[in-house]
């Protein structure tokens, strides 16, 4: 049988466009993999009340890794309205499939490489090469939220100053959660000869949770004497990232800050068409572009597939197919550098599929 089974999850909107394009590249390098299509997305919320059906989760458990396209999420009231009539008012609650995958498969590490490939007209500055490690399962995304807040919570000391009509989202960080993401960042630094890891936090204000994150960061940093360890408040880091992006190498952050700085760094290195993401656990990983489902472009094969192809490249690295990963990245770099084949975001007019073919030709 094929060496790898890859769950193939296009999702909504342009998810199919970019995964179709990515497949052209994976087929060119003849990855010894079988691609197993799975249902996920808004359609399945509307018809089944479940955007990530159990059958898809069961299928994913039989695979080595997943390639994920994009997902449409809508506010709660609209979500409820778009359910088929027989499912309405039955207590179905929309939950983000990608967030659930992260929690279900313990994909604690979100790796987001942001590299300014030479020749990309969208680069903010040349030579930026930052890799972000965002904690992926806890923090403000733990899903522990209250609105209205139950009466018994107000009995806890410290809650007396909270207004009765408040909404509460809990920021939950555990030593285990902090340790494993920080270790992942340092291990990557060590294995790829990187020089510096910077911890992103707001420990001067958010003392309990970010304080824990920062404390664990410095403790783990001691075991990596050859790698420079620094830390920065998330607000000032944003400022410095714009001013002196070349000073940064690897960033490690709790979930929310990681989410925000990922988009900042992605924009500095080409924007939505270039941002890729690996949701990585000890035994499973899901790779995706960071962009959304862009419904207005769905099926037009217009958007830039490079973000997804870079996600596939990250998957190849994770699977241990390092030579193939390098082939794909070199081909992407070469197409960008030549500047002849460009999608609309880069000022050109080639389709998603033609961009993929140009990359495949150079693999």
């Amino acid at each position: 049988m094929a060496k790898y089974r890859i769950a193939w999850l296009p999702g909504d909107g342009i998810g199919k466009d970019v995964l179709d394009a990515t497949r052209i590249v994976l087929d060119k390098i003849r990855l010894d993999a079988e691609y197993v299509p799975g249902d996920v997305g808004w359609e399945f919320w509307c018809t089944e009340g479940e955007p990530l059906p159990k059958r898809t989760v069961d299928m994913m458990k039989t695979t080595s890794a997943a390639m994920f396209g994009a997902i449409t999420s809508k506010p709660r009231t609209i979500a409820d309205q778009e359910l088929v009539p027989e499912l309405r008012n039955k207590g179905y609650v929309y939950r983000s499939p990608i967030v659930r995958m992260r929690q279900m498969f313990e994909l604690y590490s979100c790796k987001r490489p942001c590299r300014a490939y030479p020749g990309n007209p969208l680069n903010y500055k040349e030579n930026i090469d930052i890799v972000i490690f965002r904690e992926n399962t806890e923090d403000l995304y733990s899903g522990v939220e209250f609105y209205p807040v139950p009466e018994e919570m107000f009995k806890v000391k410290g809650m007396e100053k909270v207004a009765r009509d408040a909404a509460i989202s809990c920021k939950i960080n555990t030593p285990r959660g902090c340790e494993r993401i920080v270790k992942a960042a340092f291990e990557f630094a060590k294995n790829s000869n990187r020089k510096k890891v910077t911890c992103v936090h707001k420990a001067n204000v958010v003392r309990a949770t970010d304080g824990l994150f920062l404390e664990i960061f410095h403790k783990i940093a001691e075991s990596y004497p050859n790698i420079e360890a620094g830390d920065a408040n998330v607000d000032s880091l944003c400022q410095w990232l714009l001013k002196r992006p070349l000073d940064y190498d690897i960033l490690v952050a709790p979930n929310l800050y990681g989410d925000i700085i990922s988009d900042l760094c992605a924009q500095m290195t080409g924007g939505l068409g270039f941002g890729s993401s690996g949701n990585i656990g000890d035994d499973y990983a899901v790779f995706e572009p960071t962009h959304g489902s862009a419904p207005k472009y769905a099926g037009m094969y217009k958007v830039n597939p490079i973000a997804t192809i870079l996600a596939a490249k990250m998957m190849l690295e994770w699977l241990g197919e390092k030579a193939d990963a390098a082939r794909v990245e070199n081909a992407i770099a070469s197409v960008i550098k030549e500047g002849k084949v460009r999608t609309y975001d880069m000022g050109g007019d080639v389709s998603s599929l033609d961009m993929a073919k140009a990359i495949a030709d150079k693999c």
Binding site: M1, A2, R30, L31, A33, E34, T62, T63, S64
Partner: protein
């Protein structure tokens, strides 16, 4: 480079070194399989030596239930539970009692491709050679080790070439051919060897016929048998998996351990008489022998194409009173197709018992075994003393000879009906 046979090429790629017959090598495995029979011993062996250690790749270990399905006794039920628990603990694939014969399940699920090396606890794993994969049946210790390492040692076998030409006469086919070859090569004729089947007659064969040929390599003591793949076989695999599929061919000018040529133009229906698969005669020579039971199915002859031939023969007729005809589709996919196309109904109308998919009457483990002194004609692959009941006698023949025999109650040359 020295020209290579199919197995030498497969072992060269999987061992990352040039091999020649007689070499001892370590080869990477594509898949490790075990079944409800043999599987529990593997797990005991694995866990007593390796404890809770993870298997080499949980996505490339498969457990198939095909022998005692559904569980026929408490002991079997306990064993099957042990396998299900192991699958849950380790996250490996499990095909439960509603699926069918393991090798066929692997084929239908796109888990077998040319170049693959697949080991399992079933002695007929080598039928996977029908699509150009190297299948090996092995014992408990080997499978336990394979499941941990993803590698095994092999001795590279010499290869025998079997070339077949000519066109089959009506009611004569692949099973008659392989029984004829067995008679010639005997049950030890391929010991420690691989076989490559080739030639005009073989090229025209569909997957079911190729499976029939390759499964019987076991009865010649062969390691593995291959049919050189043709486009329709590649198309079948591609319809089951979208992973890359690359056929494997022997090089030209290979020197084989021996060459055997057969023509089928004048081949008659063949039958293996008790108690050895190479005790082969023309059906006509034993025609008239009374039978108590006829079995159509097994890993050798349980495909849809096999059932279709039988149905055409039985259509509108009833089997002889007093004879039991047991028909068992190899897999649920075959069973469903038989229901949808009306074969199932036709079988019932003819007086047959049709049971759930599985290996069925290959061993005493399955309902339908014989009383002392009873005689059965079977489409299975072996007829050793006692394998289907003490004091019983088993003949092996093609599905169509089996159908003809069920109609008359005595061994019958299908051409005489």
């Amino acid at each position: 480079m020295t020209p290579m046979t199919i197995i030498e090429k497969i072992f060269t790629r999987a061992s990352h070194m040039d091999v020649k017959p007689g070499d001892y090598i370590w080869a990477d495995l594509s898949l490790v399989a075990m079944r409800d029979f043999g599987g529990p011993n593997v797990i005991q062996e694995y866990e007593s030596n390796l404890g809770a250690a993870s298997v080499f790749d949980r996505r490339r270990v498969a457990i198939t239930f095909d022998l005692h399905v559904p569980a026929r006794s408490e002991k079997v039920a306990v064993n099957q539970k042990m396998l299900r628990d192991f699958a849950n603990r380790q996250g490996v694939m499990l095909f439960d009692v509603n699926t069918g014969v393991g090798q066929h399940i692997l084929l239908e699920n796109g888990m077998v491709r040319p170049w693959d090396i697949i080991v399992g606890t079933d002695s007929h794993m080598n039928l996977l050679g029908a699509v150009g994969a190297a299948g090996f049946g092995m014992g408990t210790t080997d499978i336990a080790g394979a499941m941990f390492k993803g590698k095994l040692w092999f001795r590279v076998p010499e290869t025998i070439k079997v070339t077949v030409s000519g066109n089959f006469k009506t009611h004569v086919g692949a099973k008659d051919l392989i029984l004829h070859i067995l008679k010639d090569l005997t049950t030890s004729g391929a010991l420690n060897r691989a076989i490559e089947f080739t030639g005009q007659t073989i090229r025209a064969m569909d997957l079911a016929e190729r499976i029939t040929l390759c499964s019987m390599v076991t009865e010649m003591s062969g390691d593995v048998g291959f049919v050189v793949p043709d486009q329709h076989i590649i198309d079948f695999i591609k319809s089951r998996t979208d992973g890359p599929v690359e056929p494997v061919y022997p090089d030209k000018n290979v020197v084989y351990a021996s060459n055997h040529e057969y023509t089928v133009d004048d081949l008659t229906p063949q039958i293996a008489c008790p108690h050895s698969p190479d005790n082969v005669k023309e059906v006509a020579a034993v025609a008239g022998t009374k039978v108590d039971q006829v079995f159509i199915g097994s890993c050798t002859n349980g495909r849809y194409e096999d059932l279709e031939v039988v149905a055409r023969f039985l259509k509108g007729k009833r089997i002889k009173a007093g004879v039991r005809l047991i028909i068992v589709p190899a897999t649920m996919e075959v069973a469903k197709a038989a229901v949808e196309s009306g074969l199932h109904e036709l079988f019932l109308a003819s007086g047959a018992v049709v049971t759930n998919p599985g290996c069925a009457l290959c061993t005493t483990g399955h309902p339908g075994i014989l009383a002392p002194g009873e005689v059965m004609l079977s489409t299975s692959n072996r007829n050793f003393v006692g394998k289907l009941g003490k004091g019983a006698e088993v003949y092996l023949a093609s599905p169509i000879t089996a159908a003809a025999t069920a109609l008359t109650g005595e061994i019958t040359d299908p051409r005489s009906i």
